[in-house]
């Protein structure tokens, strides 16, 4: 009850105190994690096969299982917190969650706000379209001639902005942003966009679910490949711990097993 | 008992620059019924609302049973418990039954126990002839019935003086009689009353003293015989003549 009252009073103060809060927090989130015996991991479980829900409503997927393994190696329980993708970075910054795994690529803009673990997997980007699409796409920039769709807040989104929009290869109104990739897929099927740019692995999952799609091109374009776990900024202790766990899983072959399970051809 | 129940000394009320009434002096002895008559807009209603402190006068003093109620620091709520008021528009509490309307002051202000308050309230409703309607809501009562409940509600507080602000002006003609009858009985029973009204028949029959007010001042004051038969001022005679034509004769017919 007391916490609730403090919360309400804080809100009343906020209308007069609009100065941005500086980031505050414990010395390292790792101390809190070890003390509580659990790590709070944020994810956006709407991105098969990296993170999604099964028929029992349980979270599952490559990232999910990988993080569970990391938790085991760290000796702590994983507590999952699901939220829209756009909210995850802010949630780590504001210490609402300890870390986040959600098919994140390292990105310079993001690196100003949060920290990253070492890479745990290498992904690629891809462009998919309907089977009746006849354009010739030989290099990534070729897609600028068409209507594009992309999930907002992703590295693909940033790549399109920096390499196509800012370079005047495509007009901003021809790029449609989506909160989730499955929304983009619906618009692609409906013909509202011509090409969808997404991470290679979920794009493959979309192809499997939508026989009317085709893969135009896939390579490491925007993200330069690696996937990383998002950590609090400048938190060396937790970075060391998580990097160690990733190395262990790599050596033990666990990561390859999971890749085969979820990305297997 | 020499001290009058109500004494008003040099009372003045203004709204911005407009003078509503000024330099009013008035005395009401215990058991008397005073009727105030005069053209509309002469400040009669405002005067009443000053007496029970719903409005504050700008100058002057009011004494209730010798105690100055216009003094600084007076608890106005306590004063109003001792003065009963009946309104032109009845102003019954719409969400309460007749019985609950009368009971409310007893339970919330006098802090009576519920059963005791209920008995007392029923008694007052009987007195005004409405005991069969006590569980009805104001919306289910006629104007005359509502006004009688209003009188019962004011009486329930055992006031030292009752104020009536044009109590029958908003009533259909057939319903005026039942209210005037209650007021007549009340006056006969010895209640001290100040009544603002146009009902000349009532004034003539029931008043101990009539006050004629015009443009914010008292023009003339006297017994009914004095004013109706040999008024000193022509204006008084003029007014009484006109009004009696309109109201007085009708009242006589309806009795």
């Amino acid at each position: 009850m007391k916490k609730v009252l403090v919360f309400i009073i804080s809100i009343i103060l906020i209308t007069t105190l609009l100065a941005a809060c500086t980031q505050s927090g414990p010395a390292s989130v790792l101390d809190k994690i070890k003390k509580d015996g659990k790590i709070m991991v944020g994810t956006s479980a709407d991105y098969p096969p990296y993170e999604f829900v099964d028929s029992a409503g349980q979270k599952t997927g490559f990232d999910i299982e990988l993080m569970e393994e990391i938790g085991k190696r760290m000796g702590v329980k994983v507590e999952w917190v699901d939220m829209p993708f756009d909210s995850l970075i802010a949630a780590v910054k504001e210490a609402k969650i300890d870390v986040s795994i959600s098919c994140f690529n390292y990105d310079e803009e993001r690196a100003k706000e949060v920290g990253f673990s070492k890479a745990y997997f290498n992904s690629e980007d891809s462009f998919i379209a309907n089977k009746d699409f006849t354009g010739k796409i030989e290099k990534p920039e070729d897609v600028a001639a068409y209507k594009l769709g992309v999930q907002s807040g992703t590295t693909q989104d940033t790549w399109i902005k920096e390499n196509l929009i800012d370079k005047n290869l495509i007009k901003e109104e021809n790029v449609q942003l989506y909160e989730r990739v499955d929304q983009a897929a619906l618009d692609l099927a409906a013909g509202r966009i011509d090409i969808l740019m997404a991470d290679y692995v979920p794009a493959k999952a979309l192809l499997k679910a939508n026989p009317g799609f085709q893969m135009l091109l896939h390579e490491a374009i925007a993200s330069a490949g690696p996937l990383n776990i998002v950590l609090p900024l400048n938190d060396e202790k937790v970075k060391t711990e998580i990097d160690k766990a990733i190395d262990t899983l790599q050596t033990e072959g666990v990561i390859d097993q999971l890749a085969a399970k979820y990305f297997g051809e | 008992m020499n001290e009058p129940i109500l004494r008003i000394r040099n009372l003045t009320k203004k709204y911005a620059d407009k003078v509503i009434f000024q330099h009013i002096d008035l005395e009401v002895k215990s058991g008397d019924t005073i009727v105030i008559i005069g053209p509309s807009g002469t400040g009669k209603s405002t005067l009443l609302r000053c007496i029970n402190l719903l409005t504050r006068p700008n100058e002057g003093q009011i004494f209730l049973n010798g105690e100055e109620i216009t003094a600084k620091g007076i608890n106005e709520d306590h004063v109003r418990q001792r003065i009963g008021m009946v309104f032109q528009n009845f102003l019954l509490f719409n969400h309460l039954t007749a019985l609950e309307n009368v009971k409310l002051g007893l339970t919330k202000v006098r802090h009576m126990k519920a059963e005791e308050a209920e008995q007392k309230a029923i008694g007052h409703l009987k007195r005004v002839g409405l005991s069969e309607h006590m569980d009805k809501y104001p919306g289910q009562l006629s104007g005359g019935q509502q006004q009688r409940v209003g009188i019962a509600r004011a009486l329930a507080m055992d006031p030292e003086i009752m104020l009536f602000d044009e109590p029958t002006s908003a009533l259909d003609p057939e319903l005026i009689g039942e209210v005037l009858e209650v007021m007549r009985d009340l006056s006969k029973s010895g209640m001290t009353m100040v009544v603002v009204t146009h009902e000349m028949g009532f004034a003539r029959e029931v008043a101990d003293s009539i006050i004629f007010m015009e443009r914010g001042s008292i023009v003339e004051e006297g017994s009914p015989e004095e004013l109706f038969e040999r008024a000193k001022f022509p204006r008084t005679r003029e007014f009484l003549g006109k009004i009696s034509e309109l109201y007085g004769k009708k009242e006589k017919k309806g009795e």
Binding site: I14, S55, D82 | F87, H95
Partner: protein
């Protein structure tokens, strides 16, 4: 069948939706009533303050306010997304409820208060015994509308990560690639909640109605 499991997964979000609404509505009512009374009877300074509060809170889209209240304030206090979201919804609703109650109080004729004071009731007693019972009856239809809005707006807390109906529908839609089914299920549940609520409040209205002759 898998479909049944998916649908029951969405339906179990109702717990959060109902919970959020059952926190937000009463919180909004208590605050809204307080603010309305302060606006009407609190003197010039408080009255102006309440007017500013009302204008600001009603002038910003609820989702924006939700983010501001949740992320910006979260620096000082740590509450779960569910609690923070629900309380924020309550604060947002309080501005709208304040206007509803204020309008309803102003509908009650001044004579009612005057008659109450005339029998010796204090201002507080008069407001409590005479003004509010009549005002709240007048406010009920508009309040019923606000209740429906709060239930529907509770879906906004999906953005904070609360696993309520809408978020669950989104996850199922992504997993199964069956958006129509997922969102139809969500729509039906929201509709049922709002329908039942407005029906119940309608019955309350009838029960409280003051009898009068036509």
């Amino acid at each position: 069948m898998d479909l049944g499991n998916f649908l029951s997964y969405i339906a179990s979000g109702t717990l959060y939706t109902l919970g959020a609404s059952l926190i937000a509505l009463p919180a909004g009512l208590i605050l809204g009533l307080l603010f309305a009374l302060l606006y009407l009877y609190g003197g010039k300074v408080l009255s102006n303050l309440m007017a500013v509060y009302s204008t600001v809170m009603r002038g910003i889209p609820p989702i924006v306010l939700l983010f501001v209240l949740y992320f910006v304030v979260s620096g000082s206090v740590n509450l779960s997304p569910f609690l923070a979201g629900s309380i924020s919804l309550g604060i947002i609703s309080s501005a709208y409820q304040m206007e509803i109650i204020r309008g309803a109080i102003q509908c009650v004729s001044g004579g009612q208060l005057m008659a109450a004071r005339a029998i010796g009731l204090s201002q507080t007693q008069a407001v409590r015994e005479i003004l509010l019972p009549q005002a709240l009856r007048i406010a009920l239809p508009s309040w019923s509308n606000e209740a429906a809005i709060v239930i529907k707006d509770s879906s906004l807390i999906y953005a904070l990560g609360v696993p309520e109906i809408l978020r669950r529908a989104q996850l199922i839609s992504a997993s199964t690639q069956q958006p129509f089914l997922a969102y139809s299920a969500a729509a039906i549940i929201y509709f049922a909640l709002v329908f039942i609520t407005t029906r119940l409040l309608g019955r309350l209205e009838q029960k409280l109605a003051i009898p009068a002759n036509p």
